[in-house]
Symmetry: C2
Subunit: 237 residues, 2 copies
């Protein structure tokens, strides 16, 4: 289960840093310099990138694949806090203040990451203040999303929560489809339940209900077609 250096050099000569929005203000030469600082790693599905409570010393940037950030609650549940995919970063909180990670991060599929060491990142930020602004922007986006999550979790109706999460997935992972928007779900039913604080069974039941109402169509376990987005938005309130 060792975390091996990535065998593929899919990005070593391709300036993967260029793809990443927080570096978007830099020019080619600066990016080349950054590329030299980056270490690449590759994780298989189910592998842990970060363990809650662990001391961190790098910023993780996802080059390919996706991960979930979660905590194991005392009552045995798993609460998923964030989903990270291509271009997202995490571990930033431990770069400013010395602090252990407050969640675990697990690969949901084969995931390739770029690592920048804490020290290098701090130098970069000093040299290019624009990076700090980009990071701030992303943190604000993340706050927005969490505020929405808190709002929907505070809402009593469970239908609204399920609808919200489907809309979120549609925006993030959805692809156009002749009959609507096709989503390749990043999580199974239990994962969705752990993301919005419900049980697997309740998510199942509500999704079946949405299908009966003609709002969505399930295609196997991993694909969902949003047929009537408007209805979903109305349900999500």
């Amino acid at each position: 289960m060792g975390k091996l250096l990535c065998a593929c050099d899919s990005c070593r000569n391709k300036l993967c840093a260029k793809q990443i929005s927080i570096f978007s203000s830099l020019d080619g030469q600066q990016l080349t310099k950054i590329a030299d600082l980056i270490i690449h790693k590759c994780y298989k599905k189910g592998e842990l990138l970060i363990l809650e409570g662990e001391t961190m010393n790098s910023l993780f940037i996802i080059n390919k694949g996706q991960t979930k950030a979660f905590r194991n609650t005392q009552d045995g549940r798993e609460q998923i806090l964030h989903l990270f995919s291509e271009g997202d970063f995490f571990g930033e909180r431990n770069l400013l203040r010395d602090q252990v990670s407050n969640y675990s991060v697990e690969a949901l599929e084969e995931t390739h990451v770029c690592l920048i060491h804490k020290h290098d990142f701090q130098l970069l930020v000093r040299e290019h203040p624009d990076i700090a602004l980009k990071v701030m922007e992303e943190l604000c986006r993340r706050l927005d999303r969490l505020e929405n999550t808190v709002e929907t979790m505070g809402t009593r109706t469970v239908e609204a929560r399920v609808s919200s999460v489907l809309l979120e997935f549609a925006d993030k992972y959805g692809k156009p489809h002749p009959k609507g928007i096709m989503i390749e779900l990043p999580l199974n039913r239990e994962g969705i339940a752990n993301y919005i604080g419900l049980t697997r069974e309740t998510v199942s039941r509500k999704m079946s209900l949405l299908q009966d109402e003609g709002v969505i169509e399930m295609n196997g376990n991993k694909k969902v077609l949003i047929v009537d987005r408007t209805a979903l938005e109305r349900l999500a309130e």
Copy 2:
């Protein structure tokens, strides 16, 4: 209900900016320059500082008093997202990208704020990158808190939610007391309920229960004495 300029000059000549952590890296001369940019305003209890959906052009920093940030949900509830008190700032999200406010902010008591105009703030950040890092730190703290909120809201047991919020208040507003920690509650029962996604009645019932168990002692409606912090921490998990 007009938002009048503050009559008191409690801070005009006292470099109120000095108190504010995001400016802590600046020296006296720089602070004086900032003080000139600041506009002071004063709001009475119940007044709105920001209305959800409003275009924003300033950063608000609380000099004295406290406020709640909230949204009115479609089902008629009010979801409180943040509590801000002395030294806290808000409105930052609208300074980076042009975006309307995604929550309303209301004064919970007489509140004095310092306002910095978007344009001035952006210049300041360019000139003093340390400010951006300080803002990032605060944003991270806020993310931490929201992540905790999501975790406790996802937890099924309501006792844990109530205990968590009491602990949060104890840390933020608690004062030492011979028998434990005395809290001056920033919110009434309904407010607490809207903060953690419960009903007023449920909060009432659970707090009565905690009192019966000898964990807390209520003193009128606005004061709570934490008698057994350990028990509360155990309940909060």
